[in-house]
């Protein structure tokens, strides 16, 4: 295992310490329990936006804490949901009197831990609402399973709800908005290589040099199927088609096109995928009015990408454009 780490047990703590040292202008970091909180939290009268999940997806979520996006993030161990006490501590820290929204990626562990945290927070009299992001069309949605995973759309949901909270929209409004984003966005991902969890010490799966995995999540797991390596244009087709058809987009729809890197894929390649994805969108009559390209929700050093489409409304577009000031996403301020 080749990593710039000291000991697997110390990865999350030491990384968090480095993050805290580098970004004291934007965030306050506590170590036990581990939380990353916007430097000026709580903002009185503003809904607090809180998310969190396993580490290993950086810049998500800690890199999105700041004005116009998250008020706090709770980092778990690598690929492990954080614990209710982290969430409760962060909830207290960001509650400015208008309640707190939990944005939860749809994983059993995340759901259960956030559920327990919201029980504890409500016991303390804090209004809490939860919205579950489940945008991954690689996984069949079903009542009898854990359902779809939460992947790339999470980034967009955090940005958009964060902007709405800055406008002092109410907790029910912000939660409804977040559900709207979840309803209007879908994602699908693929991997050229696996990744190595420090504690495991070897790649999560072996992928021959001439094969790739289609339909992967963000936890180093293999995808839905393994296919022969294909050119970037074919990959873009394989990801765009299921996303578009699941969303049921119509010609003329405005969309945000997000090509996300899984960690180990250079920007050059992401733009090659973006190029084709934008072309496919145009061919289907979609208007790509907003774009995002880069590694925003990663799976350690995995090589690969995911594509997310979000159907935009004027409201969503304006919220997307609103100022944001975080380590991982910043504009307008």
């Amino acid at each position: 295992m080749k990593k710039l780490i000291n000991h697997p047990d110390d990865v999350v703590r030491e990384s968090l310490e480095g993050f805290a040292a580098a970004h004291a202008d934007l965030v306050r970091v506590t170590m036990s329990p581990a939380t990353i909180v916007r430097v000026d939290a709580p903002v009185t009268g503003k809904v607090g936006i809180l998310s969190g999940g396993g580490s290993g997806h950086e810049p998500l979520h800690g890199g999105f804490v700041g004005l116009g996006m998250l008020d706090a993030a709770c980092p778990g161990a690598i690929f492990t949901s954080p614990t209710p006490d982290q969430m409760l501590e962060a909830t207290r820290a960001v509650n400015g009197g208008a309640g707190v929204l939990y944005i939860i990626k749809n994983y059993t562990g995340d759901l259960m831990n956030f559920e327990m945290a919201s029980d504890l927070a409500r016991d303390e009299g804090i209004a809490v609402e939860s919205v579950i992001i489940d945008d991954d069309v690689a996984v069949n949605d079903s009542l009898y399973t854990a359902g779809r995973r939460g992947v790339g759309l999470t980034v967009l949901a955090e940005k958009i709800t964060g902007a709405a909270a800055e406008q002092r929209r109410s907790l029910p409004q912000v939660a409804a908005l977040c559900r709207q984003v979840n309803a209007q966005g879908r994602s699908m991902g693929m991997a050229l290589t696996s990744c190595t969890v420090p504690h495991v010490g070897h790649p999560m799966f072996e992928l021959p040099d001439d094969e790739m995995e289609i339909g992967i999540g963000i936890h180093g797991e293999p995808g839905r199927r393994r296919v022969k390596l294909q050119p970037a244009d074919a990959v873009a087709e394989m990801l765009m088609e299921p996303v578009m058809s699941d969303l049921g987009l119509k010609p003329g729809d405005d969309v945000l096109l997000f090509v996300n890197g899984m960690g180990g894929t250079p920007l050059t390649e992401l733009y090659i995928v973006y190029r084709k994805a934008a072309e496919i969108a145009a061919k289907n009559g979609l208007k790509v009015t907003r774009s995002l390209v880069g590694p925003y929700i990663t799976s350690l050093e995995m090589a690969g990408c995911s594509i997310t489409l979000l159907k935009l409304t004027d409201d969503l577009t304006a919220l997307w454009d609103a100022p944001v000031r975080t380590v991982g996403m910043r504009w307008g301020i």
Binding site: G54, A77, S81, G109, T145, A146, H199, M204, E221
Partner: protein, 220 residues
């Protein structure tokens, strides 16, 4: 000759023995989870039970309190799916034996039954979904069957360990419907579930710590 009740010291010994078993089998649990999950089950459980061990080093004063401390410590140190679920097991068991200074087989059955039901409620999974429930539910059923059959506490504990083991092994061909393994769909078949394995170890160490003589050790 085996005892007919479980004492405070035995409960502490059981949990400490389980912590050791987790530590020894950490790599194996990790590999199982790497195959169909995300490779953290060994680290998760070990982190939690190391913290529990540290808290229980001084022993305890009350069975329910020891179980509650265990559950609360797991809740704040494990995370993931296993954190809330194992925490639930211990917190439910704690609640079900509140005030008791020793536990009969009947007490144990009530505790484990409450634990299993709470895990179902929390995780919304069912038997056959390829989760820890596939070890937990048969283990509880075996305890009940043993009581009906009039078996001793020790034999009942051994029967539950055996049932948990069989349940764990039966997860091999299953297609996961809950937890991360469910994302793999049919590719999840052919692997034993990591959570069912750690649950088997829980009942195995219970039989070893709470019943004499020890059950035969598995080869891991």
């Amino acid at each position: 000759m085996s005892n007919t009740v479980i004492t405070l010291d035995e409960v502490v010994a059981w949990i400490l023995a389980y912590a050791r078993a987790i530590s020894e089998n950490r790599a194996m649990l990790t590999e199982l989870d790497a195959a169909i999950g995300d490779g953290d089950h060994g680290a998760n459980m070990d982190r939690g039970f190391k913290a529990v061990s540290a808290k229980l080093q001084a022993g305890g004063t009350d069975i329910s309190q020891v179980l509650k401390t265990t559950g609360m410590t797991l809740l704040s140190t494990v995370g993931g799916a296993s954190g809330p679920l194992y925490s639930t097991i211990f917190l439910q068991a704690a609640q079900a034996c509140a005030g008791k200074t020793q536990l009969t087989l009947q007490d144990w059955i009530v505790m484990m039954d409450a634990a299993a039901k709470a895990v179902v409620a929390r995780g919304k999974a069912a038997a056959g979904d390829k989760t820890m429930l596939d070890a937990l539910i048969p283990a509880v059923q075996a305890l009940k069957d043993a009581a009906v059959a009039g078996l001793s506490l020790a034999d009942a504990l051994r029967a539950s360990a055996k049932a948990a083991e069989d349940g764990m092994e039966a997860t091999l061909p299953l297609i996961a419907r809950k937890g991360r393994a469910s994302y793999l769909g049919e590719r999840s078949a052919g692997h034993i579930d990591p959570g069912a394995t750690s649950t088997y170890l829980l009942f195995k160490t219970a039989a070893a710590a709470l019943a004499q003589p020890q059950v035969q050790a598995r080869k891991w």
